[in-house]
Symmetry: C2
Subunit: 286 residues, 2 copies
């Protein structure tokens, strides 16, 4: 029997069907338009297959508490037409299968935990550094959520002494996303990170912020592995710098092991989100 999966993002929906072992049979990408256009488009794709269950990794904020009657409902997103839309309810009705939903980052963490760099570990933290910054945490097969879901990209950080950029987060002055996201890089330097690959100081500063975040997450969550994905870390010099600065900052106070094996790139080749949604359907529990 096939599994249905959706990686529901702000700009595109990736829809896939696949097997229990994580192999994808067919996959399409559709742009995120109004819900009354995009959801039926996704339904048309799934209607060609016999799926037994479905998992969704969703943009947020979204109701993730399975005990809530509002489980699956999109909350105060800037995408007005999506507010109040409930994808769990929609696909439960349209596809007539059980549907499990989690945040996009928790789904990615689960994908890497089940089939990627976190395979065999007890716990796995997945950080994505792109337009924004988010992170998902999985322990013993279950993602961490509360009544609300984590917003790990918004932790306060100590400002780099040479950083005069005011931050791009409209809510917080010195938060990680505000100072270290791809958006922050673009606004601070007037160019995308990919056009700044030769500028050492750009990546030293970026690593300064990410290492600080990694230290915070270590002290709070003790992840067995930290996976850093998203567009920004495609700069090859970044991860080694994050490892070095995280090790200096932690300073032996706790020992998570060899930093080369503890802080790593994703193994699922940009499919952690959609495969995570598949895993969510399979594991289907909290």
């Amino acid at each position: 029997m096939l599994i249905g999966a959706i990686e529901a993002g702000g700009t595109k929906f990736v829809c896939a069907v696949g097997y229990q072992n994580g192999d994808i049979v067919e996959k399409i990408t559709i742009p995120t338009r109004e819900p009354n256009v995009t959801l039926p488009e996704a339904d048309r794709f799934f209607s060609s297959f016999k799926i037994s269950k479905m998992g969704i990794g969703s943009f947020g904020p979204v109701h993730v508490d399975r005990k809530s009657t509002r489980y699956g409902e999109i909350l105060e997103t800037p995408k007005q037409s999506w507010r109040g839309v409930n994808m769990v309810r929609h696909f439960t009705n349209s596809q007539d299968v059980p549907v499990h939903l989690d945040t996009d980052v928790n789904a990615s963490a689960l994908g890497e935990y089940v089939w990627g760099a976190g395979k065999g570990k007890d716990s796995c933290l997945y950080i994505t550094v792109g337009t924004g910054i988010g992170a998902g945490f999985v322990k013993d097969g279950l993602s961490l959520n509360g009544r609300l879901h984590p917003e790990m990209g918004h932790i306060p950080v100590e400002r780099h002494e040479e950083d005069s950029f005011e931050g791009c987060c409209p809510y917080h002055g010195n938060c990680l996303e505000g100072l270290a996201s791809g958006t922050a890089i673009r606004e601070r330097y007037g160019r995308e990170g990919k056009h700044l690959s030769d500028s050492n100081e750009v990546w030293e500063m970026e690593a300064f912020y990410l290492a600080q975040a990694v230290a915070s997450y270590l002290y709070v969550l003790c992840p067995d592995i930290v996976i850093i994905g998203g567009g920004v870390p495609k700069q090859k010099t970044l991860l080694p710098l994050v490892r070095k600065k995280a090790a200096e900052r932690i300073n032996g106070y706790v020992n998570p092991g060899d930093f080369k094996e503890w802080i790593v790139s994703p193994a699922l080749n940009d499919e952690q989100g959609i495969k995570g949604a598949m895993a969510l359907a399979i594991e289907g529990k909290r």
Copy 2:
């Protein structure tokens, strides 16, 4: 049948026996000396009672991974003679009952979760601000640990602009414990916090650091309630300031509810540690 419980601290061991409902029948406090003195002293206390199981909230660092053969072993503590001591093994043998151990702060969080301010909540964060700073997190009755246990007091924090104190943590420059523990207050001002109750700037700065930590914990863990205990918050003006500054800092980005009900004092009247150890014996699972 009675339950045995130990709150094993660096300066004293509190030993108690009580009932499943959390009522304590008898309790003694013994100073923490060498393990070959203190452990038999604890055994003598328990040998007067018929206990069916035991819980220990322990100082650390300590092996908390129940799957490890070293579960219960004290690690690199400055208290040399305790290194390598395994209290789970000791009391399993001496009392011939199942023994469950967790960190002191996780035990306190569990005590408040089961019988105190966190009763009825899905998750509960307990922060203690005393000589050092630590925090424990319980969700759905289980504490958060990894191969290592959290060291939440050591998260990096942004320094207050008027703070020139270098910090008292020997491992980290700007960590929460280094800048906001009772030790930091004493070293920064040359006096204990209790003698500084009239100095607004002391408590403004203390609240600045604690509010920052509360924001970080919120973004990572989404606790349903935050309980702040320990000696330092006995200063009555502190908690209202922490609530105010945490609300300002979070700035509506997520809404944990009324801050007066979300950030609170412990309800167990300094018995959260020993009652948490009892709860640990009862819940006895992870």
